[in-house]
């Protein structure tokens, strides 16, 4: 299963959008946070988990999805949200804590909800597993189309919720897929120190379902493996477990000194940055010209800058509105 030219263009442009979004957010996050770094300050307070380096997973999977499909994401949700088509203006406004944000500033960067494209995320490790299973169950019971993807980190595969949800999806043969982004680290703890198996795809055997491991953070391979799993789910053949090797180019969150990384690891990762790599390949195999790719980059940049502007220009929520929207 090879991505079409159009899909490849979408994948590249989406990866670039995500990257530009994050490098822009990264800078803005630091506003008001120097000389003293205090999370509480600046236009974007609180924790900030960047996903740069992990874009291939988001686009390789979401290239197969429509708005009706469901994605549950994690505390590191930007790349997935962007790939799923979450309204970038309102998402950015949410990250700025503005009244125009997806939830009017109640959620913040770890709680982005866009029901229009069936996207949700959460700050608790593996918490999205069950909701993805439930959405898949809902579709199956209602005989409605749609698959549900739960993205988690490799560290989350050691959480009980992972096990319960996978078993449930398998027993009920639901159109659900768990995609594990293996970025080798759960904050400061290396995968090998936390996980009793080298690759989480082998855990599929515990549920009698297919398991796949994709090495190399490669958008093409991710696209292919995800495509098969999603087709399988749409055909009513049940869940799949996919683990993808990817790289976290930034710290766990902003402010992380990353002292736990072995020396030189970061340099190695930057050398493998998937965005220049994809660009190189797209140019080399003649899919797109440099000019076309530059144009995509320009569109991505404009999209992000517009979203930032929207967010900056939006009004703060009324403080007392904190007391509203508890119940539906």
């Amino acid at each position: 299963m090879n991505p079409s030219k159009q899909t490849l263009g979408w994948m590249y442009q989406t990866m670039v959008t995500s990257r530009i979004f994050e490098t822009t957010i990264e800078k803005i996050y630091m506003e008001g946070k120097s000389p003293v770094f205090n999370m509480a300050n600046g236009p974007i307070p609180g924790e900030m988990h960047l996903s740069n380096g992990q874009e291939p997973v988001a686009v390789g999977v979401c290239a197969h999805l429509g708005p009706e499909d469901i994605v549950t994401a994690t505390h590191r949700p930007h790349h997935q949200a962007i790939a799923k088509g979450v309204d970038l203006d309102r998402m950015t406004a949410e990250i700025f804590g503005k009244a125009t944000g997806l939830s009017g500033g109640r959620g913040g960067h770890m709680h982005l909800f866009d029901p229009a494209v069936n996207f949700a995320c959460a700050g608790i490790i593996a918490q999205g597993m069950g909701p993805a299973v439930g959405a898949a169950l809902s579709r199956k019971m209602q005989n409605k189309p749609g698959v549900a993807i739960a993205f988690i980190g490799e560290g989350a595969a050691n959480q009980g919720a992972f096990h319960e949800a996978m078993n449930l999806a398998a027993v009920w043969k639901l159109p659900m897929i768990c995609v594990i982004e293996d970025n080798a680290w759960g904050i400061s703890v290396a995968k090998a120190a936390a996980t009793s198996v080298t690759r989480n795809d082998v855990r599929a055997a515990a549920y009698g379902i297919p398991g796949h491991y994709v090495a190399g953070n490669d958008p093409w391979k991710i696209y292919e493996v995800a495509g098969q799993a999603i087709a399988r789910a749409r055909a009513g053949d049940g869940p799949t477990l996919i683990e993808v090797e990817t790289y976290r180019l930034a710290g766990h969150f902003m402010g992380d000194a990353e002292g736990y990384r072995p020396k030189g690891e970061k340099d190695g990762l930057f050398a493998k940055d998937p965005i220049p790599a994809m660009r190189k390949r797209l140019e080399a195999d003649g899919t797109f010209t440099a000019a076309e790719l530059d144009a995509m980059q320009a569109i991505a940049d404009a999209t992000v800058q517009a979203a930032i502007r929207f967010a900056r220009d939006s009004a703060e929520p009324r403080p007392e509105d904190a007391l509203t929207a508890v119940f539906a």
Binding site: L137, R139, M141, E164, A165, L168
Partner: protein, 341 residues
């Protein structure tokens, strides 16, 4: 009246679910042993026969899995009614409840609904020991984002279940095992009352004055209401007129009804089968005392479960549990004492 149909709470709950399932294809029921077995406490009996095991589905012993799945289904347009067999098991799945189910509406700024009911059994008294006998009312009521109800009789049981299923927000529906109408649990007969056949709602958040009185207000919920009513009967013979308030709902809490009653009687007793400290009993007392316009004739009292795990041995458990005698004794005391003003 004699010929009016009486139901147990278990059957009233099942009837409400069945009626809503007939009306609304998105309503479904899920939990451990709720299909073929009809629920360990009988409250889903007959549903699998009528609606099939797709809509009435047994689950693995994976509470985190299926409760968080219910949240996902609810956000996707379904109306799940989910059972946590004993409330004591909430520890294995509380993240799915308090941190997910209860918060997603807020996190979405009200843009998603989470129309689901989590029903769970509470209460002791039959020596089921420390992991199968708790009430934990306070543990649920303390945390924002979920409504919390608990019926003391079958009429309320049906009406609260109907209201809960129709609610677009998550509702914790706590049913006391000793009121279920299951003989093997030594059921309280007074919980079996007339239940109309047609569907109706009991408003979530409205307390009921179950018995009017003038000397002392006894506030409680679920089983405690029956202790209060029995005590009130005894007290009546002694010339003490007790008013009994059945909270029915802990969230929202009907503070107005509680305060109005105490404003009238000037005396307050709270009966709570949940643990004593940092729970329902303290909250009700604080609600009255902070009002500022209520003059108490005696210090408020609480009959609650002591702050110890629930013991197995009958004598020990009964020593700890609230009962009508303890309530009556407290009422006698507060009616004797008068605060020097």
């Amino acid at each position: 009246m004699e010929n009016e149909r009486k139901l147990t709470i278990a059957r009233a709950m099942a009837e409400a679910m069945a009626q809503e399932m007939r009306l609304d294809p998105t309503v479904f029921v899920m939990g451990e042993d709720i299909a073929q077995l009809g629920g360990v406490f009988g409250n889903t009996r007959g549903l699998a026969d009528e609606f099939g095991t797709d809509r009435v589905r047994d689950t693995p012993i994976s509470e985190t899995g299926f409760i968080s799945a219910a949240v996902g289904a609810a956000m996707d347009g379904m109306r799940p009614v989910v059972e946590l067999m004993f409330v004591d098991f909430f520890g294995v799945c509380f993240d799915a409840i308090y941190n997910l189910m209860a918060k997603n509406i807020y996190f979405s700024g009200g843009n998603v609904r989470v129309p689901m009911v989590l029903m769970t059994s509470t209460g002791g008294g039959y020596s089921d020991a420390g992991q199968h006998s708790q009430c934990l009312y306070g543990s649920f009521a303390h945390l924002p984002g979920m409504k919390v109800v608990s019926p003391s009789n079958a009429y309320d049981a049906k009406g609260l279940m109907t209201a809960a299923i129709r609610d677009n927000s998550p509702v914790i529906y706590m049913f006391h095992k000793g009121l279920q109408g299951m003989g093997w649990l030594g059921t309280e007969a007074a919980a079996n009352v007339h239940v109309p056949e047609d569907a109706y709602e009991v408003e979530i958040g409205k307390a009921a004055i179950t018995r009017e009185g003038t000397d002392v207000t006894i506030v409680s919920i679920a089983m405690g209401v029956h202790h209060a009513l029995k005590a009130a009967k005894v007290l009546e013979a002694e010339g003490i007129s007790a008013e009994v308030v059945d909270l029915r709902s802990l969230v929202p809490l009907d503070r107005d009804t509680v305060r109005a009653s105490v404003r009238k009687t000037g005396r307050l007793i709270v009966v709570d089968e949940d643990y004593h400290s940092y729970g329902v009993s303290g909250e009700i007392i604080a609600t009255v005392c902070e009002a500022g316009d209520i003059t108490l004739k005696a210090a408020p009292r609480r009959i609650a479960y002591p702050d110890v795990p629930i013991p197995y041995a009958r004598g020990m458990e009964q020593f700890c549990l609230p009962n009508p005698e303890k309530v009556a004794a407290a009422a006698r005391e507060v009616c004797r004492t008068t605060v020097s003003a």
